[in-house]
Amino acid sequence: MAGKLLRLLLLTWLLLPSGGAWADPVVIVNSRSGIAVMSRSDVINVFFGRNRQFFNGIEAQAIDLLDQHPLREIFYQRLVGKDLAEVNAYWSRQVFSGRMQAPLRAASIDEVLKWVVEHPGGIGFIPLARADARVRVVFELQP
């Protein structure tokens, strides 16, 4: 009985905190890009198209997710505290003033990984659990 309870507690301890953390979005770059870590400002500047270059001169090639993907809302909420409507309003200003195009949007995490792996300056966001050796986690977005 006591053993069973202990096992249940252990399982809860294992699952609960990590279960949340594993779904947290993280920003990833191509592991050969030479980028080890980024600040929140760096990430904002790249994903809002304000800075198209990493500190080492490599062109930043951002990939976003479609609105329908639940991670997109979580990502922008945690990055800048903005709704998707506000993010889309921002991009409508950039696009229709002729300044710049929004980053391409992937439909799935697999597509994001594929983009980041295939582009030397690729940068995207995925759940922490999906990060593998081909990419490097440079920023974590905790709640």
């Binding site: 400002s41 709704d83 003033s97 195009q101």
Partner: protein
């Protein structure tokens, strides 16, 4: 009601296109517009890596509490709203095609149909330029392009991109020109975690300003300018300067029905005269907060226009999908002494006076993806002779100076 009235206006524009004897270029323009519309609606938005066709639009209705003057969105409109609801002041439809040739080169074409200087809804080519990016943070454009005379000035038509129903009048009324034929170059330099951005532009203005039943041509007037901007994660600070040298005089003869004495024409000449535009802007955008503070100073060389100062503060706070906002704007122009001491000259010079404060209260509701509904009250409190911002003002050049403006709009992207 607003929606159906807006559609009627667009349909009226369609009928104009069907009139026989219409200029071929006009027909071509409409055909291109309709073709792009078809393309865009076919698949929601056509999106491949190379070609993107998409659009934006607004259906709006506005009325005021005064029949003494007509309220317009900006000075490019010849008529506007009174006590009756009008849907043509703010309603518009825009379409844009972006065609990427390779990593460095892109074509952009945009057409907008809106209530223009002659009251028609004929689509106009707002942008048609090629963009070249030789390096990631360096951008050059050439062709017909939008100008950032003031911060946010090149997205004045895209209602979905801002909080209010229309850009704040006391600040933006004075810009009847929306594009130039020319070029610009923009550069971004990272400074630690912040960014420094600069832009220079030069070209010939595109635009016409309706004055009474006459039109003042601005087309071809050389203009140039630039800005310097400092951007942190949540702040954007900008100082900008621009000038335009007008190449046509005001159409006094057409406005008044008879030519003015040569000496008066000379005194009020616009041709060859320069206007300088200085502005400062700050935008704070973080979490639920959006705050804008803008100031401008317009120095008019010609005796026909009064130099002015304008500014506004606007703040919005989002609660779920609703963002209530409040603001305050002010414009003031300095009277000139009429050195000719003539009644007529004095009257003409008084015509460009503005001295008023506007209290703004409203809300934006993001009802669905790419769809926002807005409602807004502008309480205008000004001098009796603050008439520059209005149309069809009384012959006396005076009105009560006070009115409330009620506006509703639906802004969308597709």
């Amino acid at each position: 009601m607003a929606a159906s009235a807006g559609v009627t206006c667009l349909m009226r524009a369609q009928f104009i296109f069907l009139l026989p004897g219409y200029r071929l270029a006009e027909v071509g323009r409409w055909l291109l517009f309709v073709l792009m519309l078809g393309l865009a609606s076919l698949a929601g938005a056509v999106e491949t890596e190379a070609l993107v066709v998409h659009g934006f639009g607004t259906l709006g209705a506005v009325r005021t509490t005064s029949d003494q003057v007509e309220f317009v969105r900006d000075l490019s409109q010849a008529s506007g709203a009174g006590r009756q609801w009008r849907s043509d002041v703010d309603s518009l439809l825009g379409l844009q095609a972006n065609w990427r040739l390779n990593d460095d080169l892109e074509w952009v074409i945009q057409g907008v149909s809106h209530h223009r200087y002659d009251g028609a809804f004929r689509p106009e080519l707002s942008w048609a330029f090629v963009k070249y990016e030789p390096r990631p943070n360096l951008q050059m454009r050439a062709g017909r392009l939008g100008t950032e005379f003031f911060m946010l000035a090149d997205s004045r038509q895209v209602g979905y991109s801002f909080l209010t129903v229309r850009p704040v009048g006391d600040f933006f009324w004075y810009l009847p020109f929306s594009s130039i034929h020319g070029g610009d170059v923009a550069m971004t330099v990272p400074l630690g975690e912040d960014l420094l951005r600069g832009k220079l532009f030069y070209g010939q203005a595109q635009g016409r300003l309706p004055l009474g039943s006459a039109l003042w041509e601005i087309d071809g007037s050389p203009m140039g300018g630039g800005y310097l901007e400092y951007q942190t994660a949540f702040w954007q600070l900008r100082a900008s300067y621009a000038n335009i040298r007008f190449n046509h005089d005001l159409p006094f003869a057409a406005m008044l029905g008879s030519p003015l004495p040569a000496a008066v024409e000379q005194h009020l000449a616009m041709s060859g005269k320069r206007s300088d535009y200085y502005s400062l802007g700050a935008v704070y955008d973080r979490g639920p907060w959006q705050v804008q503070v803008m100031l401008n100073l317009i120095d008019q060389q010609s005796q026909a226009f009064q130099s002015s100062m304008g500014g506004y503060v606007l703040a919005g706070y989002r609660i779920d999908s609703v963002t209530p906002f409040a603001g305050l704007s002010r414009v003031y122009s300095k009277r000139r002494t009429d050195t000719m001491n003539s009644l007529l000259v004095g009257r003409l010079m008084a015509d460009t006076h503005a001295d008023q404060t506007t209290f703004i209260l409203g809300m934006r509701w993001d009802v669905a993806r790419h769809l926002a509904l807005k409602a807004q009250l502008d309480a205008i409190r000004g001098d009796e002779d603050s008439i520059l911002p209005y149309r069809n003002d009384p012959a006396t050049g005076r009105w009560s100076g006070r009115m409330n403006v009620f506006s509703v709009s639906m802004d969308f992207l597709f």
